[in-house]
C-alpha cells in the first residue's frame, strides 16, 4: 500500500531524517517507535507533503507522492491525524465530522460514514452540538479518528494517538485502531508507548536519531534484547 524508500528530511541545514525506509502492507498496522526527537513526526509530515523531503521516494498504491499537494493525498485515500489537537476546536463535533468528509471521494458516502462512525464512537453522538474545544482529551482523540474515517481512508496515519491520555483511554483508542484495521483500512502509527503499540501492531520499525535501527514483526521486536533494554520496562 505505502512504500517509503531512503527518505531524507531537513529543516534548513539541519537534517533530521536519514534515509528512512519502511512499508505498510494492506490490512495491517505498522508502527514506527522511537523516543522524543527521533524524527517520527518529521517523517510523517514529510510523507504528507507538509515538509519538503530532500531525498528518497514515497509510493502510495503504486503512484509517487513526491510533490503531490496534501489535500490531493486525502483525495487518494491517505489521511493523517496530527498530534495533540486533531480536531477543529472552534467548530462543533457535527461540523468537524462534516468537514471530515470534504474530499470528493467521501462526499457521496457522508451519511453512511456518519452512521458508521457514531456506531464506533457512541459518545460523540451525545456531543454533536458541542464545540470540539470543550471535549476531554480522550473524546477529542476519538473525534479525530472519527473525522479521519469520514474521509474514507485506505491508509490512516496516526501521530502519537496516545499522547496525553490516561492508560485506560489509550487502551480503548487502541482497540478502535485494531477494529479499523479489521475493517480493511491500513494503519501507520508513530508511538512512544512501545509496549501497548507492539500489542496491536503487525510490524514495527524503531527510529533512532533519524535512522531506522531495527524492524520486524511485533513478536520479534518484543523479544529483541536491544529493544527490550531501550524501550520496555524489565
Amino acid at each position: 500500500m505505502l512504500a517509503v524508500e531512503a527518505l531524507e528530511v531537513a529543516y534548513g541545514d539541519l537534517q533530521v531524517v536519514w534515509g528512512a525506509s519502511f512499508e505498510v502492507p494492506e490490512r495491517s498496522i505498522v508502527a514506527i517507535l522511537g523516543s522524543n526527537g527521533a524524527g517520527k513526526t518529521t517523517t510523517l509530515l514529510a510523507l504528507m507533503g507538509l515538509l519538503p523531503s530532500i531525498g528518497g521516494s514515497v509510493t502510495f498504491k503504486g503512484e509517487s507522492l513526491i510533490g503531490v499537494p496534501t489535500h490531493v493525498m486525502v483525495e487518494r485515500g491517505l489521511v493523517m491525524i496530527p498530534e495533540e489537537r486533531p480536531t477543529f476546536a472552534t467548530m462543533t463535533v457535527a461540523d468537524n465530522l462534516a468537514v471530515g468528509a470534504h474530499a470528493r471521494r467521501a462526499r457521496a458516502l457522508r451519511d453512511q460514514s456518519l452512521r458508521e462512525v457514531l456506531e464506533i464512537f457512541p459518545v460523540l453522538a451525545e456531543r454533536l452540538g458541542q464545540p470540539a474545544g470543550t471535549l476531554s482529551g480522550g473524546e477529542r482523540q476519538m473525534l479525530g479518528l472519527a473525522k479521519a474515517l469520514m474521509a474514507r481512508p485506505d491508509l490512516l496515519v496516526l501521530d502519537e494517538p496516545s499522547l496525553g491520555l490516561a492508560p485506560i483511554v489509550v487502551e480503548s483508542i487502541f482497540d478502535v485502531i485494531r477494529s479499523i484495521r479489521d475493517r480493511g483500512v491500513s494503519v501507520l502509527m508513530v508511538e512512544q508507548h512501545v509496549e501497548m503499540t507492539l500489542d496491536i501492531a503487525d510490524h514495527a520499525y524503531v527510529l533512532e536519531l533519524g535512522r531506522i535501527v531495527a524492524d520486524g514483526t511485533s513478536a520479534e521486536l518484543a523479544s529483541d534484547t536491544r529493544v527490550r533494554d531501550a524501550y520496555l520496562s524489565p
Binding site: P69, E75, V79, A89, T90, M91, V99, K147
Partner: protein, 293 residues
Amino acid sequence: MSRLILQSAVSGLLVGGMYGLVALGLALAFGVLKVLNVAHGELLMLGGYAAFFAFTTWGLDPFVSLPLVFAALFALGVVLYQVLFRFVTRFDVETRIKNSLLLSFGLVLILQALAVRFFTADERTISTSYSSMGFTVGLVRIPLVRLAGLIVAVIAAVALEWLLRKSRFGHAVRATAEDWTRAALTGIDVGRVYLVAFAISAGLAAMAGSLIALGYSVSPSIGLGWTLKALIVVVLAGLGSMRGLVLAGLFLGLIESLAAVWVGGPYREVVALVVFILVLSLRPQGFFGRAHV
C-alpha cells in the same frame, strides 16, 4: 438639545452600518488568510467608482448594479490574490501579517494614484431621484439611502454568517481559518479557500463602496479612512462573529457621533480611538471574539 442627540445617534448608527460592512471583508481576509489588507479601503473606493460610472454612463440604479459591482471586484480580488497575496500566504502567520502590510500599503499608493489619474480627485456622489428622500420618526429624520445601506450591511452579515456555518465551503473556510495545516490534512484545498475568501472580501468592500457612493461620497483618497474604521471595528468585535462585526460597527458609529455632540466635532475620532485602546487593553479578544482555545 435632545433632538440633536437623537438625530446624531441615528446618523451615527447609519454610518456605523457601513463601518460594519467594511469590517466584514477585512475580517474575512484577516481571519482566513492572516493577511492584513490595508488596501481594503481602496477596493471599496474602486467599488464606489464602479457604481458611480455604471449610474452615470449606463443609468444603472446602484441597487441594480450592486451584484455587478460585487462580481467585478470579486474578479479583481482573484487577480490580486494570484499576482500578489498568494506569495504572502506561503509564510508563517507573523510574516504573513508583516509582508501583507507592506504589500497592501504599496497597493494603496498605486490604486490611489491610478484613481486620481483616471477619475480625477473630485468628490463624487450618485444622485438618484430618491437620493434626497427620507422619512421622519418623531423628531428624527432618516435618509432613505443611508437606511438602505444599513439594511444591506445586515443582510450581507447574515448571509456571510449563514455561508460560514451551514455550507460545505463555509466549513472549509472555518477549518482553514483555525489551522491551515490540519485543513489540508482534512482534504481541503487551502489555496482555493484563500483565493475565494480573498475575492469575497474584495466583493464585500465593493458593495460597501457602492452604498457609500450613494449615501455619502467617494474620492480617490477615502480608502485609508474607511480601512482604519474597519480595523477599529474588527478589534472591538473580535474575529469569529459576523453579526458581532456589524454590532461593533454600529457601536463605533454611535459613540463617534455622540462624542461629536458632547465633546465637540474635532474629538469624534479621538473618543473612538480611546475606546479602541480601552478594548485592546481590557478585552483583547473583543466583545464577541473567543479567547484562544
